[in-house]
């Protein structure tokens, strides 16, 4: 109703402009105006995707550079049936679930703490963002040194505290190595989650907490019935970001573990890289990249649907 009224109000103005110039010329002007942006999008989005589709549906083995027959979905089928897909898929799911849960828990806990008034709160709000500002590769190198099995500071600390008898080979152990990746990932991306949650929490009216307190509600009850409902939209956005981020994590693996030991930290994105740059099979690499993209897109759509839900904001 309101929209109809506004159209009635603006109607004469718009019509007035439209009738002042020929309609065709106006359309051309509109298309010309968006042409630079269209070219930009075509160059950096449409063309690479189209080329990737071509790669994924053809045989592109670099050691056989002149032979590129059309293969349809054969690359996709071969990737799905490959020796690594099931195991790497499971490793990726475990890693993604771990980082999503850890980053969200970190974000909520830290933002809850920083939302309290305190002397150090201002400093901590800035300091907490530092890891987020560090490039991922640098973060990987830092953590690679921290976890180093021979000279790492973590081993030195744990031994000096008497928590372990001798140095542990963090990257040489197939159970501990994935854990090091999760820790590095949370250190890198947790601060962003914390700041986003903190921004949301600062918009929560204080009198709600005071009312809860007067009504005899516990701290947990206030968190459960006031804080969490306000945080839900932010947490869902973080859920999308972290799920996609977890699925496509590559840089930390590349820098810290190289996918090892064995294939303990070989995520699907690692194999997409390995198919192209190590096995020189661009077709399979592109096919795997599309599979990863389809999974993350599917999950994102589910989350976005949840985000749009009216109940979320009610």
């Amino acid at each position: 109703m309101a929209r109809a009224n506004s159209r009635q109000r603006l109607g004469p103005l718009i019509l007035g402009r439209a009738t002042a110039r020929p309609r065709g010329r106006l359309q051309w002007y509109a298309y010309l105006s968006i042409l630079p942006a269209l070219c930009f999008v075509a160059l950096f989005a449409v063309y690479p995707v189209a080329f990737s589709v071509r790669l994924a549906t053809h045989r592109y083995v670099l050691t056989d550079p002149l032979n590129h027959p059309f293969e349809g979905l054969r690359n996709v089928a071969e990737v799905l049936g490959s020796y690594y897909f099931r195991r790497a898929g499971l490793t990726t799911l475990t890693f993604t679930a771990s980082v999503v849960a850890s980053v969200l828990a970190f974000g909520v806990a830290v933002s809850h703490y920083l939302n309290r008034p305190g002397r150090l709160a201002g400093f901590l709000r800035v300091a907490i963002l530092l890891p987020w500002a560090i490039p991922v590769v640098m973060a990987g190198i830092i953590w690679k040194w921290i976890f180093n099995g021979n000279y790492g500071v973590l081993n030195a600390l744990l031994v000096s505290l008497g928590l372990i008898p001798s140095y542990v080979s963090w990257f040489g152990n197939p159970i501990l190595a994935p854990l090091t990746l999760v820790i590095a990932h949370v250190w890198k991306w947790g601060p962003l989650a914390a700041i986003m949650c903190l921004a949301t929490l600062q918009a929560v009216p204080r009198d709600l907490y005071e009312s809860a307190h007067i009504d005899g509600g516990s701290g947990w009850a206030a968190f459960r019935y006031i804080t969490l409902p306000f945080l839900r939209p932010t947490l869902l956005i973080l859920l999308i970001l972290e799920t996609v981020g977890g699925f496509v994590t590559f840089d930390l693996v590349y820098v810290m573990t190289g996918g090892g030991p064995g294939d303990a930290t070989s995520l699907l994105s690692w194999f997409a890289y390995a198919e192209i740059f190590r096995f020189l099979d661009l077709g399979k690499g592109a096919a795997l990249a599309f599979i990863i993209a389809a999974v993350t897109l599917g999950l994102s759509l589910v989350y976005v649907r949840l985000l749009r839900s009216e109940a979320l904001y009610s």
Partner: protein, 438 residues
């Protein structure tokens, strides 16, 4: 005011002209540019060699780029695939030769330089074999070495052993004794990282040392048979890790890190290129200098891998024409051949200053090199290993590099006990056949 404007304008004009002047001045008039890509090792020495080359051959200018050894092949592949930063001359290895040549990224030298084939007669045969694809020569040797077993003789003496181990069982026995006496926590450490191209050379050397073969004459896998030398090798590493005598960090180490453990005295047994002993026995780099000895590879036959790293010429050079080809030949002849003064200026320097092994046969008679090598290695033993026991890697094919990468991860799974040795060799054979069919 006017004076200030003129001063600022003059400064801007000077800056604009001075900045681009630098490379032009270095290149010199009429100079042919060559780009040269190496893995990161002694880059300052490489720069000095380039400067000496440019002084001797002033019509060629060389621009150097270096990449990490562990990611070298990946980076080069990315460069060739991307096509934007393809070098003219680059380091290569017998590992990667067939992959690069089959993809058409590097050019056969004898197609463009007929004199190269004649010069190759002065190279060790295993090195020539490692640089040859489909009968064509693709490089001049940068260095060539056998893989060798080395040990810390001082620790061995402390543990009561008068001689190095002769078999792999003895290696375990001595390592367990050294650990039991509290001398060293992890006496064995190899560079088995997923990024370490030397790791497959270590494994193949262990297989050869037991008289094993990887493939038959038709390139069918021979390692997947029950009780093969490969199965025994995998089980040996598994046992060394399980018994706590091999450093578990071996699965993350490259050869440099394992070598550092040797130099620091926290490790006793090591397999690497024979010339690695130069650094271990050099007091400038090693706390334990003088304690390290070269041994024959333990096992039934003491055979080992002999490998070659070499200078290759990318296919972009012939496309650039005669001038670039002439420059490339002068470069290759200076760096990997006898050079204009017939004194092997670069190869000789690598041997004298870094102890790098070589494939250029005339240098074996060089008195300076023999005297220099004698300071850090038993020269007769080194010669014996190189000439009697070193064999080229079996299975050098366009798919060897891909198989090698696959093998590193599969072998690690076996070492960690995640799959049996028999399952591992079955997977390796399956992958070999898949890559071969592709």
């Amino acid at each position: 005011m006017m004076r200030r404007v003129v001063t600022v304008a003059a400064m801007l004009v000077f800056a604009a002209t001075a900045i681009p002047m630098q490379p032009v001045a270095r290149a010199g008039a009429g100079s042919t540019q060559l780009t040269f890509t190496v893995w990161t090792f002694a880059v300052d020495t490489i720069k000095e060699n380039i400067n000496r080359f440019q002084t001797r051959v002033p019509n060629v200018t060389v621009n150097l780029t270096d990449y990490n050894w562990g990611q070298y092949n990946d980076t080069i592949v990315a460069n060739f695939v991307g096509g934007s930063t393809v070098p003219d001359i680059l380091y290569s290895s017998d590992h990667w030769l067939q992959q690069w040549a089959a993809a058409g990224w590097i050019a056969p030298l004898d197609d463009y330089f007929p004199q190269a084939r004649e010069l190759a007669k002065s190279f060790a045969p295993y090195a020539v074999e490692g640089m040859t694809y489909k009968g064509k020569l693709y490089g001049f040797p940068y260095y060539a070495d056998p893989m060798a077993f080395m040990y810390n003789a001082a620790v061995l003496r402390q543990a009561g052993f008068g001689a190095p181990p002769q078999t792999w069982a003895e290696v375990l026995e001595q390592a367990k004794a050294i650990k039991a006496k509290g001398l060293v926590q992890y006496p064995i450490g190899f560079g088995f990282s997923l990024d370490e191209p030397f790791s497959i050379e270590t494994v193949i050397s262990m297989v050869y040392s037991e008289g094993g073969n990887l493939f038959d004459k038709d390139l069918n896998p021979a390692f997947d048979r029950a009780g093969s030398a490969m199965v025994k090798t995998i089980e040996w590493v598994r046992e060394a890790l399980r018994a706590g005598v091999m450093n578990p960090e071996s699965l993350q180490w490259d050869g440099v890190q394992a070598g550092n453990a040797m130099k620091g005295g926290t490790q006793v047994f090591f397999i690497t290129r024979a010339s690695g002993l130069w650094e271990l026995n050099n007091p400038q780099f090693s706390k334990q200098a003088g304690n390290f000895q070269l041994a024959f590879m333990p096992g039934a036959t003491h055979e080992t891998v002999g490998f070659v790293r070499f200078y290759a010429m990318s296919s972009s050079v012939p496309r650039r024409g005669k001038e670039a080809l002439d420059a490339a030949w002068q470069f290759l002849n200076y760096f990997g051949g006898p050079g204009p003064d017939n004194n092997y200026p670069v190869v000789r320097r690598w041997a004298l200053d870094f102890g790098l092994g070589f494939a250029q046969l005339p240098l074996f008679k060089d008195k300076d090199i023999r005297a220099s090598f004698g300071r850090w290695v038993n020269v007769e033993r080194l010669e014996s290993i190189g000439q009697k026991h070193a064999r080229v890697k079996q299975g050098l094919t366009p798919w060897f590099a891909q198989w090698d990468v696959f093998a590193r991860a599969e072998l690690q799974k076996a070492y960690l006990g995640q799959q049996t040795a028999q399952q591992t060799v079955k997977n390796l054979a399956s992958k070999w056949n898949e890559l071969r069919r592709r």
